[in-house]
Amino acid sequence: MGMGCNESVGRPDRAALSEAACVGDSLDTWFAREILSHEAALIRYLTRAWFARDEIHDMRQEVYLRVYEAAAKALPHSPKAFLFTTARHLIADRVRRKRIVSIESGWDCDALDVLVDEISPERRTGAHQELSSLARAFDLLPPRCREVVWMRRVEERSQKEVAAQLGIGEAMVEKHIAKAMRRLADALFGCHFSEAPTGEANNPVREDPYGRQHRN
């Protein structure tokens, strides 16, 4: 996700980026733009390739860690390909470690290559699409969180003012904001709570792609 409000922001050329990557902040920016933007596909990939859903969150972290640390030494030419190769290696490592199947018995790494193209079609994400994703993510927030985010981000009131207006403590406002950030990140980047394959529509408990359960 480009995380910009408008589409006119051009990409820096590769040379400029490499130069800029010497500065810590710019590597962070590069990471957010080139790697985090593929989180939804990464989660789908991990979820399909790995049986234990409660390990997906940790695995995501480990993939990011490996990519970030490699990029700190040298930026990969193709960030997306590098991300998925890293994910594939991580899975191979875990398979080996857990001895679920023996590598010699024909566990097929190539099968995962095919999967990447299938689950991660190239798509253009413009400002238009980002705005609609943001609107959807916002609507998935619990009502109080949504209200706090609205007052902070749209009305640009301070946390203190929000607290006074809603008649709650400032610490509570901070808590709502922290919660909202995590929920927005999950909805925007990776996992869509509403898409959890729980089967029964009126099941009061749904599961996100990380295997965490949420009450409806």
Binding site: M3, Y68, D139, W150, V154, L184
Partner: protein, 106 residues
């Protein structure tokens, strides 16, 4: 490795605390120390910070929503967002999107 969900929670707490304002040099030093302690910390922070920054764009959505003093919408106007913005800019009539609009896809 530290628990990734726990790290994410701490990162969110940091961002919310910074969002409070009155951010001192001491606060910044503590945050920097936390981020430098582990790349996992840094990544969790970058990820949530990007999201919180992008939430500013809600304002773009709000521009086309004729809120006034009305209660905040449960559902924001949906697609076509850009077209709607343009429509509202170029026309005087009340072609405002319905607050009850359903998302086009789910």
């Amino acid at each position: 490795m530290e628990d990734s969900i726990g790290i994410e929670e701490i990162a969110a707490d940091w961002l919310a605390r910074r969002d409070r304002g009155a951010w001192s040099d001491t606060d910044q030093a503590e945050l920097t120390a936390w981020m430098d302690a582990s790349t996992a910390h840094r990544i969790a922070y970058i990820r949530l910070e990007a999201v919180w920054e992008s939430a500013r764009c809600l304002k773009t959505l709000a521009l086309e929503s004729p809120l006034g003093d009305a209660p905040r919408p449960r559902v924001l106007p949906y697609l076509p967002v850009c077209r709607t913005v343009k429509l509202l800019v170029v026309s005087d009539d009340s072609t405002s999107p319905s607050l009850e609009a359903e998302p086009p896809e789910q």
